[in-house]
């Protein structure tokens, strides 16, 4: 890879051990993906919950935090994905002091690096959405697919280590979605059934993600008749990325790089239909009507202020069943607004709990499931029901309305 004089200086250790580590990391990754050089990025977004990074990961951050200030501080605005522990509410969930301590150590190290602890996977709704053509280094697959597809920004999936490296150097290897050729459509889908609401959007995204099947495929979708709102398209993208490792999609006439099919070379591809049976087949494992529900979860992605209001309205005047718990995950910035507007109070009066800055599957889902006896989990997130099968849950999927009604009944309606 060709390095600029600044990048070479970082590699030579002239700007400290953290930036040297970062460039070395980027060279390894860049070589695997045939990057010829680096591209400057304007923001980094890092996924790094303590369950994933573990003791070894926290130690890495602490080693960097111990460096002199000029050597340790990130070079560009750098923000964080949800945390693993809401430090204002972890014991009642069955999270341990050990987990909380790891979280505290990580937070302290991040602050010394100059990282903004936004603790959100919906930064494109709450912090600073990227602009079309802007190169960024984002983590969280849901953030990346939304930013690429809906905003027209340019980012690969930057896992935590690479987002950290990008934050420290202000650049990332130029490969994948930073290049025009990887943003062209590689597979073409036509939908006949219009998605209505968040869960439908998620299921459609999941079907397309599963059919697309790899990081290097870019689906283009035809037949979407109504412009989805930001929450609908975030559920669709998050599920597509979750089921397919898909980082970018286009919707003809809706997303910015695809006003017409030929803009993304979709006219050269043979189209496949997304059928009702595709949709039914995806939903089938997540049925379970009539079964007792242990926990209802609204998360993955975290809830926007609009979703918080929708949940609050559904909770109004009702009470949760004594055998069921309900958790709502939202970013700290949304929490403050929702609290100010009385939405948190409405949700918690119902008997639910609103968590700040976490996301359910990133907060030791296995351990808190075992501690609380949660087995049957219900959510409106197609992404989360995909993930939690590996964590010992029996996940089921329903709309937000049916999730609340099930929480009242204590069983899946």
């Amino acid at each position: 890879m060709k390095l600029s004089p600044l990048e070479q200086a970082m590699l030579d250790g002239e700007m400290g051990a953290a930036r040297q580590w970062a460039v070395r990391h980027q060279l390894q990754v860049g070589r695997m993906f045939d990057a010829k050089d680096m591209v400057e990025v304007s923001q980094a977004h890092m996924m790094a919950d303590p369950e994933s990074i573990g003791v070894a990961g926290v130690a890495l951050f602490e080693a960097f935090a111990a460096l002199p200030e000029t050597e340790r501080r990130v070079h560009i605005p750098m923000i964080t994905d949800p945390r693993g522990v809401d430090l204002s509410y972890y014991q009642p969930l069955g999270q341990t002091e050990e987990m909380a301590d790891l979280e505290r150590r990580f937070v302290a190290a991040c602050l010394k690096l100059g990282i903004l602890l936004t603790d959100t996977c919906i930064n494109y709704q709450t912090i600073m959405p990227p602009v079309q053509g802007e190169n960024v280094a984002y983590g969280d697959t849901g953030v990346v697919i939304y930013s690429n597809s809906v905003c027209g920004a340019r980012s690969n999936f930057e896992g935590g280590p690479s987002a950290l490296a990008a934050g420290l150097t202000g650049r990332t290897p130029r490969y994948g979605l930073h290049l025009d050729q990887h943003r062209q459509a590689t597979c073409r889908f036509v939908i006949r059934q219009q998605p209505e609401g968040l869960t439908d959007g998620g299921v459609l995204g999941a079907v397309i993600g599963r059919k697309a099947g790899s990081y290097w495929e870019v689906p283009v979708i035809e037949g979407v008749e109504r412009v989805p709102n930001s929450d609908e398209i975030k559920h669709m993208g998050a599920a597509m990325a979750s089921y397919g490792s898909t980082p970018l999609f286009h919707i003809v006439g809706i997303t910015p790089e695809c006003q017409t099919l030929s803009d993304v070379s979709g006219d050269k591809l043979r189209s496949k239909e997304v059928t009702k049976s595709d949709i039914d087949e995806l939903r089938r494992p997540f049925g379970a009507k009539g079964e007792k529900v242990d926990v209802v979860v609204f998360a993955a992605p975290q809830l926007s202020l609009v979703e918080m209001q929708q949940v609050a309205n559904l909770c109004r005047g009702k009470t949760i069943h004594s055998g069921t718990d309900l958790l709502v995950c939202t970013p700290p910035s949304v929490y403050v607004d929702a609290e100010r507007m009385g939405l948190v109070d409405m949700i918690e009066t119902f008997g639910a709990k609103v968590l700040q800055g976490t996301c359910f599957y990133q907060q030791y889902a296995r351990e808190i499931g075992e501690a609380n006896g949660w087995k049957r989990l219900l959510s409106n997130s197609t992404k989360i029901v995909n993930i939690l099968g590996g964590y010992g849950y029996q996940p089921a999927l329903a709309s937000m309305e049916d999730c609340i009604a099930s929480a009242v009944a204590g069983e899946i309606i």
Partner: protein
């Protein structure tokens, strides 16, 4: 009998070990019980099997970014595969391998790596050279 497979230049150092192969995809977050060191997702082709010290062979990577940290975390605790081979890696797994110092290669010249290598084969991975040597089980 040894057979040599060519692939794209990968990440990490030379390693050898027994292959565990599935025509399935991989995510450290979705598929593993990392404490026990086994595949825990009931629908995964390797459900219940141990991955410790294996050379894992899959079609592609899937799902979230957590795997990038998790390979490092697993390696630090000594309950990790020695290498992962894919038909097509994604960026996350490559980034994770770089942090963990785990060997990883993809894009095999002779076709589908999940059919080129079988479970139980003894495999040596040379990521820098883009080369994998396979000694067939029982031969």
């Amino acid at each position: 009998m040894e057979e040599e497979l060519k692939c794209h230049v990968g990440i990490g150092g030379v390693v050898e070990g027994e292959a565990l192969v599935a025509n399935d995809n991989f995510s450290a977050r979705y598929d593993l019980d990392r404490i026990k060191g086994v595949f825990s997702r009931p629908t995964h082709a390797l459900a219940g099997q141990s991955y410790k010290d294996k050379i894992l062979v899959f079609n592609t990577a899937k799902g979230g970014v957590a795997s990038a940290w998790m390979l490092h975390e697993m390696t630090a605790r000594g309950i990790a595969p020695k290498a992962i081979l894919f038909n097509a890696a994604n960026t996350i797994l490559a980034q994770g391998a770089a942090l963990a110092g785990m060997a990883m290669c993809d894009r095999f010249a002779d076709g589908d790596v999940t059919t080129l290598i079988s479970t139980g084969d003894f495999v040596t991975v040379y990521p820098e050279q883009g080369r994998v040597v396979v000694k067939r089980k029982g031969i």
